[in-house]
């Protein structure tokens, strides 16, 4: 049975059709010959492999690659039924016609189709759970990162993108917002063909390869995932092979990528004058950093090397870059085996400049490629096997990463942008030309010593071009799935077994030189300038190598399911499912003993549905799940859910609606789901203490030469047997409405209570001396909101059609129970109870102080530390009236940092071979805070000295212009902690609307293609992130407070898609 070839299939098919299927047709009388073509109603493209059947009889033929078919000897009054994967079934009465043009509509609009649900598929009409299904084609965009296309397109999803750096540009997304405030997992479970996947795996997925994309939002939908479903589930299935000859599809895109918005610097004359002012305004007797001579020469530009004048952004960043994407797939097969094989290659470049003197390139280049092979085998008439292999690889090269202002490791691209801001623009040029010293064998970078120290400034150009980092990731999945129809045991019973293993590996390394720095010194006596080497001993012309990080992990997983479908008479329909899962995850780089131990899950889940006359629907689910993280008595959790539905349009009593309403379903579900991934990732076993018996930080050295050293003991977690699951109890009610005129609305309201949220007990006094916080399942939060999606389709004639779609997600959460002190009267504002989870707290900035006298006579503001608070500094409100401004005066400020509303709307219009579509995406009800420390002009931090943003130069408090509401307070020669306090002074509204994508396409007319044996050819131009409307202008508003990072990219793209 296992032997087959495509050749034999080709022989068998016509034989099968001609001998068996066509026989009954021969008996018909008054028959005609009919030929026709089948076209996609939207794209006007021919549709191949459409099954054509005579109603009540059987399939007679199928369309060829040109969408054409012929049927001989057809009864004149016959009705033909056309069906194809992905399209709505369509019936056409022949009525004596000899030529037919049949338009098939996409299946997404069809009511009676299936959706991907937990561990299987369900008919949409019988579903009661709240599940968003997305047409994968809507996720198409000129980007190699799918996650950036989700916000505003998937109802129920809150998302935002903070960075546009290749390799680091994943958008964050949450289903119905963030429901928990613990330290653990808050983002959804992602399953691609049942394989638990990371956000990066999802990012690399090609819309062309996706067959189904569902988002499980409520408890009934995700209860089967029990322990892991509390944050929602994203389910993706990829395409499987389709019987027929090999059909190829190739897509190639080239795009031009540019920053949506850059921050802007003031000119350097202003920089130096304001730097002087910053010193004088605080201390009139202090020495000035820049003398008039330097300022004048810089202004005249007479010697750019002696009087450097840099705009680091211009010197580090290119205007645009070019990226390519190629996606290729082929599908086909015979009765015994079908295949879907796809390959993808994306090349993304960064916007960084390179140094031509270097033999290596430091600009970002991320090449990712993937291969997918989905094979379906019909082993026996009742046994199907699926073998899916998927391998995905990232090869990255780019500048060496570094650390951000919080000491977190960041990618190289982001570092370059930050350093553009954090580097002095006038003390040194980026690089001296070789002509200064023709015999040097290395690039001569500029630098200068910082006054009063023996350290140098940061030359961002030298840092960027002096080395490069590489990383490689590989993800390999191999999956085997078997489906066995057990009809021979009892009708309707089937079994399914699936197992997979996933292997992930990552390593990075970097190579760099140590740049040589020079300082151009002018010698007035000789009237000449000489280059003075600053680090002749430290510099290295040759590359050195840095061992980087290595990460490896392996997941193995198995599931075994029994399915049962049974109809009793016409009225009763039962389905049942029972599934057991087992999962094991090990990582090579846990870092300590406890994190090196395997992570495991074990579960038994079940689903039972019952439909009466397809009118009244009931569904019950449960998950019984175990996790290795908890003590034995809490190891398993039981998560039940149930739902009811009512297909109103099926009721006779509501027949009067049928001229307008084609479909109306009311649904409600209620249930509990859990989350075992609570706490910090390294807090693996709450029932065990975590002790480090070799802590150097707690060691001590005795002895006359202090060399009798012993490590100490430290504890980072106290044992707690009571820690258990975080649970979400969710109620969801909604309706699906379809109108005859083509308008569809899906609406869901939900209300979820998350309890047993793990949190640190903050009521333990520090005088207890605990080294680690004590955690407990104490917190409770509420999440409520609604999501709605609307679409409307209308064809005006064969040549004009329109589509409109919109959706909106509103998710608002609130903290209900928090571990916090009993706040006395007057400090109630400190309580976080009743506030959104991601609510920021800060001081209320009233305005700037008028003068020093006011500053001295106001409530004490000691934040400045060594810098006294003066006129022009931010004046805060003494909320509790104790005469000093402290943490006790902090109140909730603005909206939460995650948007509460995310929405999108768009349209597509087609006329003949042209189509155009546009999509807008927006978010509302969020706040973010500019980090003033990052942009404090002239502040020196090690070798980093901040530049001056234009917005500050244009609007700051000064003695000459004492504007009490200026953007920037009184200047300081350094960081000013008083003004940097978190307060509404730095708060901005995160709301925006963005023209997310635009596409203009042209499909080659059929007749032109025929001669080239091409089935379809589409040429299109598209754009991404073309424009954003927001009040905030400093940087791209979606980046939030972290505006110095790698900007979100605007993309201009041309693409071609060929099928043959």
């Amino acid at each position: 049975m296992c032997y087959f070839s495509t050749k034999s299939i080709r022989y068998m098919l016509p034989f099968f059709f001609s001998t068996f299927l066509l026989l009954p047709a021969l008996r018909a009388q008054e028959s005609i010959d009919l030929s026709g073509v089948i076209l996609d109603s939207v794209s006007q493209q021919p549709v191949a492999n459409v099954s054509v059947a005579i109603k009540g009889v059987h399939e007679v033929t199928s369309s060829d690659h040109l969408g054409q078919f012929t049927i001989g000897s057809l009864p004149q009054d016959a009705t033909l039924v056309f069906s194809a994967v992905g399209y709505q079934r369509k019936e056409v009465a022949v009525a004596g016609q000899r030529n037919l043009i049949v338009y098939l509509s996409l299946a997404e609009l069809e009511i009676d189709e299936v959706a991907v649900v937990a561990y299987g598929h369900q008919r949409k009409s019988s579903m009661v759970a709240s599940i968003t299904t997305v047409d994968p084609r809507q996720l198409n965009g000129p980007t190699s990162n799918l996650t950036t296309m989700l916000a505003g397109k998937v109802s129920g999803m809150i998302g935002y993108q903070r960075s546009g750096e290749p390799g680091n540009d994943n958008a964050s997304f949450f289903i119905r917002g963030v429901g928990s405030f613990g330290a653990g997992k808050k983002d959804p479970l992602i399953l691609i063909d049942g394989v638990e996947s990371s956000a990066t795996d999802l990012a690399r997925l090609q819309p062309d390869d996706i067959a189904g994309f569902s988002v499980l939002k409520d408890a009934a939908a995700s209860a089967l995932y029990g322990a892991r479903g509390a944050n929602g589930v994203v389910l993706v299935t990829t395409k499987t092979g389709v019987i027929g000859r090999a059909k190829f599809n190739v897509r190639f895109e080239n795009s031009l990528s540019t920053n949506t918005r850059n921050f802007k610097f003031a000119d350097n004359i202003t920089y130096m004058q304001m730097a002087n002012e910053a010193v004088l305004t605080r201390n009139p007797e202090a020495a000035l950093p820049y003398d008039q001579n330097k300022i004048e020469h810089t202004r005249n530009g007479d010697d750019p090397y002696l009087y450097p004048n840099n705009n680091w952004l211009d010197q580090l960043i290119k205007d645009y870059t070019n990226n390519q994407r190629l996606n290729f797939n082929v599908t086909g097969g015979g009765n015994l085996a079908q295949y879907y094989v796809a390959g993808t290659m994306n090349i993304d470049h960064g916007n960084l400049r390179s140094e031509k003197n270097n033999s290596f390139d430091n600009n970002i280049k991320l090449v990712n490629y993937s291969v997918r092979s989905n094979i379906t085998l019909n082993i026996t008439p009742t046994t199907e096997a699926f073998i899916r292999t998927y391998a995905q690889f990232d090869d990255y090269r780019g500048p060496i990463g570094g650390y951000d202002e919080h000491g977190n490791l960041i990618n190289g691209g982001q570092r370059v942008f930050k350093e553009a801001m954090w580097s002095n623009p006038v003390m040194f040029p980026a690089i001296y030309p070789n002509s200064f010293n023709p015999f040097t064998t290395h690039p001569m970078f500029g630098n200068a010593q910082i006054r009063q120290t023996n350290s140098m400034y940061n030359n961002p150009y030298a840092r960027m071009v002096s080395g490069y980092q590489e990383y490689n990731t590989s993800t390999v999945n191999v999956q085997l799935e078997l489906k066995q129809d057990l009809g021979f045991v009892t009708e309707g019973l089937s079994a399914r077994m699936m197992a997979y293993t996933q292997r992930y590996s990552y390593f990075d390394l970097s190579r760099s030189i140590v740049p040589f720095y020079y300082d151009l010194v002018h010698i007035p006596a000789a009237n000449q300038s000489i280059l003075n080497p600053l680090n002749p001993d430290d510099g290295k012309e040759y590359l050195s190598y840095d061992f980087g990080n290595r990460r490896q992990n392996t997941t193995t997983y198995g599931e075994l399911a029994l399915n049962y479908n049974k109809s009793v008479g016409d009225n009763h329909e039962f389905t049942g499912m029972l599934i057991g899962i087992i999962r094991n995850y090990v990582t090579a780089d846990g870092g300590d003993l406890q994190t090196s131990l395997p992570a495991r899950n074990l579960g038994l889940s079940g689903r039972l549905t019952y439909a009466y006359k397809n009118k009244y629907l009931f569904e019950g689910n449960f998950g019984y799940n175990g996790s290795e993280r908890f003590a034995a008595n809490h190891r398993f959790g039981f998560f039940p859910s149930f739902g009811v539905g009512w297909n109103v349009h099926e009721e006779k009593a509501f027949d009067f609606m049928s001229p307008v309403v084609s479909n109306l379903k009311l649904r409600a579900t209620y249930g509990v789901v859990g989350n075992d991934q609570i706490g910090e990732w390294y807090d693996r076993f709450f029932y065990l203490s975590n002790v480090n018996p070799e802590d150097g930080g707690k060691g001590f050295a005795w002895g006359n030469r202090w060399d009798y050293y012993r490590d100490g003991y430290s504890i980072s977690r106290y044992a707690n047997n009571d820690i258990t699951w975080e649970k979400a109890t969710t109620f969801d009610a909604g309706f699906d409405l379809g109108l005859v005129n083509g308008l569809n609305v899906i609406f869901d309201y939900y209300h979820s209570i998350r309890n047993q949220i793990l949190m640190y007990r903050s009521t333990i006094p520090s005088s207890m001396g605990f080294q680690a916080g004590v955690q407990a399942n104490f917190g409770k939060a509420e999440n409520r909101g609604f999501d709605i999606s609307i679409d409307y389709n209308k064809s005006y004639s064969n040549s004009l059609w329109t589509q409109f779609r919109a959706n909106m997600t509103y998710a608002a959460n609130k903290l209900l129970v928090n571990e916090e002190p009993e706040y006395p009267e007057g400090l109630k504002h400190l309580s976080k109870v009743g506030q959104p989870l991601r609510q920021e707290y800060g001081l209320i900035a009233e305005r700037l102080f008028v003068d020093d006298i006011e500053a001295n006579n106001s409530p004490t503001q000691n934040f400045g530390g060594l810098i006294p608070t003066m006129g022009g500094d931010i004046k805060y409100r003494d909320i509790n009236g104790d005469g000093q401004i402290t943490d006790m005066d902090k109140v909730p400020l603005g909206f939460p940092t995650d948007p509460e509303i995310v929405y999108g709307f768009g349209f597509s219009v087609g006329y003949k071979n042209f189509d155009v579509s546009a999509f807008f995406q927006g978010s509302a009800r969020s706040s973010f805070f500019i980090d003033p420390g990052n942009i404090t002009p002239f502040a020196l931090n090690g070798g980093y000295q901040n530049g001056l943003l234009k917005v500050i130069a244009n609007d700051y408090w000064s003695e000459d212009n004492p504007n009490l509401h200026a953007f920037w307070p009184r200047l300081t020669d350094g960081f000013n902690n008083n003004n940097a306090q978190r307060s509404n002074w730095w708060m901005r509204n995160g709301a925006f609307v963005r023209l997310k994508s635009v596409e203009l396409g042209y499909n080659m007319p059929q007749r032109l293609l025929e001669s080239f044996k091409i089935s379809n050819l589409r040429i299109y131009m598209s754009g991404l992130n073309l424009y954003a409307w927001s009040k905030f202008k400093l940087w791209d508003v979606e980046m939030g407070g972290d505006g110095l990072g790698y900007p979100i990219q605007a993309v201009y793209n041309i693409g071609i898609n060929v099928g043959f």
Partner: protein, 638 residues
């Protein structure tokens, strides 16, 4: 059918595995826990190290508040090459949101003392149990218990010195203890002192007099250390801040219990004196004596020798005077921040940055060469300290011959020349190029002189005393810093403590008062107190009265222990901070070049210090603690 069988097998096995919880039990049995620390001696000593590891890093100027919180030293603003966050204390910008030098919660260089105490309690509770650490001998067990009892007492003392009334932690409550039990109250200071002294007494009973094996054990707590610290604790208890301090009459806890005893008790001084005397006798018995420089490979003058005795008493590791040195606090940054560029052979070497700048009032505080205060010396005129004068040949061991410098730098006692680096001074080091104390390193700090390519310290003075004489500049812009364990207690301190306590406990000064202060003066090359005052001041009877001796002892302490972190606490203990820390901080004008000494020696005021009494005598408790623990009260004024 084969296929069907395999399905049955898979089904069966997975149901089996589901029913067994063992699959989820992934943790091996022998993961490390705290119990591991008390199985064997070699593990238990690590927990002992843990208990020691919380000892405040007093040899680190950025962490020891005495270096940045008082008036002895001043710094550049903004700071260069040193983190001056804790300087906020000296500048009066302490605050309650996140207090500087926070020993209560740990922060700003201060270690978390409550964590320290908890670890000590865990150690004591386990090691006291003879069923644990079975391979620990009785003797060693007793000794270890004594050490940790001492540490527990000392950590309480650190808190007490900082905060006054404190909660006492005598046991390690489990994490599951009821919150009410965890919300401890502050106890009255007398009770806290009694608790600490009780613990020290218990430790003294258990500890060996000195260490038997210096190679492995120096730095371990001994009976002598415990007795010395007991004397210090009792001295604090007897001092005006804690003994009958009426400023805190109304300071009570939430239940109205007074936290300070307003009644003065002279017997506290007697106890302090007795404890100091016992410690001194014990020290003498075990060979501890005031350090005397033995000389070096080449001949040096008596002047230099005296000064080296003064310098090395602090900076020579484990010298004969050290009672308690902390080998975990080895003064690297302290010396880095004290050293000036004085080496003409390495003139461009800027690998160290002296930034700790003694203020003029501290420079003035040193005696004249006659051993009396500069403004009391009837034989010497210091009315114009800035007056320029040229050093003579006779003064060559202290001053650069032929170099013009201020009057303030002439005719001073050896402790001044040993302790302070100044413009025009001699800075003798082991690697003197002349192999002699003649023609040796010279300190010239005026702009344009050697060593002033970088700006000098803000006052132009340096804390020369803290640099070990083996420091050396090396080529390649590097240096050698000779580390030494920071002296937590040395004999001279003990002598002066005894003299002070004895003077206070009696009606008038007794012979021992003079004897022990004069021992310290003798090592500094000075005559006795009575003799000096008799001969050189207009107030010859000052040493005869208790009040007069009190002033003399206080100044002697300030001089002898200068830059060692004593003055900051002594001023508070004596309740003199409100006077002394409300004065101006001054120094010379470092921006003037070498050709204008008269401009260089202009007294500049850098800051007007403000000390708010009684608020600033104690630290603020971080305000969030008061919310978490409703039984806590804040210190007055905060």
């Amino acid at each position: 059918m084969k296929f069907r069988n395999s399905i049955q097998i898979i089904l069966a096995t997975s149901i089996l595995s589901l029913s067994s919880c063992n699959y989820l039990d992934v943790t091996p049995d022998n993961l490390p826990t705290i119990d591991n620390a008390f199985t064997r001696r070699s593990e238990a000593i690590k927990f002992l190290a843990t208990c020691y590891s919380y000892l405040p890093n007093d040899g680190e100027p950025t962490q020891n508040v005495a270096y940045m919180g008082g008036d002895e030293l001043w710094y550049d603003f903004p700071a260069v090459s040193i983190n001056t966050t804790n300087w906020n204390v000296a500048r009066g910008t302490q605050q309650v949101t996140d207090p500087y030098v926070n020993y209560w919660d740990g922060g700003f260089g201060a270690k978390n003392m409550f964590q320290a105490i908890r670890d000590c309690n865990i150690f004591l509770e386990n090691v006291a149990d003879e069923n644990k650490v079975r391979d620990l001998s009785i003797d060693e067990r007793t000794r270890w218990l004594g050490e940790v009892e001492f540490l527990k007492a000392y950590y309480h003392f650190v808190l007490l010195r900082h905060y006054g009334p404190i909660p006492i932690s005598d046991e390690s409550l489990p994490v599951t203890a009821p919150i009410e039990e965890m919300q401890q109250k502050r106890v009255p200071v007398d009770e806290a002192f009694d608790f600490i002294v009780g613990l020290l007494d218990s430790a003294i009973d258990k500890l060996p007099p000195t260490v038997a094996s210096p190679v492995t054990d120096l730095g371990r707590i001994t009976k002598l250390i415990a007795m010395g610290i007991k004397a210090k604790v009792l001295l604090y208890a007897a001092s005006p801040l804690f003994n009958g301090n009426s400023d805190y009459d109304t300071f009570t806890d939430k239940e109205g219990n007074a936290l300070f005893n307003p009644v003065y008790d002279n017997s506290k001084w007697t106890k302090a004196a007795e404890a100091a005397k016992e410690a001194i006798d014990m020290a003498h018995q075990y060979g501890v004596k005031l350090y005397e420089f033995p000389g070096t490979t080449f001949p040096i003058s008596e002047t230099t020798k005296t000064q080296m005795s003064i310098r090395n008493a602090v900076t020579e590791a484990w010298n004969s005077e050290i009672i308690w040195g902390n080998p975990n606090s080895r003064t690297w940054q302290l010396q880095y921040s004290s050293m000036a560029q004085i080496d003409p052979n390495n003139a461009g070497n800027n690998s160290v940055h002296g930034t700790m700048a003694p203020t003029i009032k501290i420079v003035e505080q040193f005696y004249t060469k006659n051993g009396v205060p500069i403004y009391d010396d009837k034989t010497l005129d210091f009315s114009n300290i800035a007056q320029l004068r040229t050093a003579t040949h006779d003064e060559r061991f202290n001053l650069i011959e032929g170099y013009q410098t201020a009057r303030l730098h002439f005719d001073r006692e050896d402790r001044f020349y040993a302790s302070v680096g100044f413009d025009g001074g001699i800075w003798f080091m082991e690697n003197t190029p002349s192999l002699s104390d003649e023609d040796t390193f010279q300190a010239k700090f005026r702009l344009g002189e050697l060593g002033s390519s970088q700006l000098v310290t803000i006052t132009t003075y340096y804390t020369k005393k803290l640099v070990n004489w083996k420091f050396a500049f090396k080529d390649g812009n590097s240096n050698h810093i000779e580390e030494y364990p920071f002296p937590m207690l040395r004999l001279a301190d003990l002598y002066l403590m005894y003299a002070e306590a004895l003077n206070e406990s009696e009606e008038r000064p007794t012979a021992d008062v003079y004897r022990y202060i004069d021992l310290v003066r003798e090592r500094a090359g000075l005559k006795g107190v009575r003799e000096s005052w008799q001969e050189f001041t207009l107030d010859p009877t000052k040493p005869e009265s208790k009040a007069g001796m009190r002033e003399i002892i206080q100044q002697e302490r300030n001089i002898e222990l200068c830059f060692e972190g004593a003055r900051f606490w002594d001023l508070r203990r004596w309740k003199l901070a409100a006077t002394e820390l409300n004065k101006n901080i001054t120094g010379w004008d470092r921006t003037q070049d070498k050709d204008h000494p008269e401009l260089f020696y202009t007294e500049n005021t850098f800051f007007a210090q403000r000390f708010i009494a009684p608020r600033d005598y104690f630290w603020p408790i971080k305000e969030s603690n008061l919310l978490v623990n409703p039984n806590l009260v804040q210190n007055p004024g905060w």
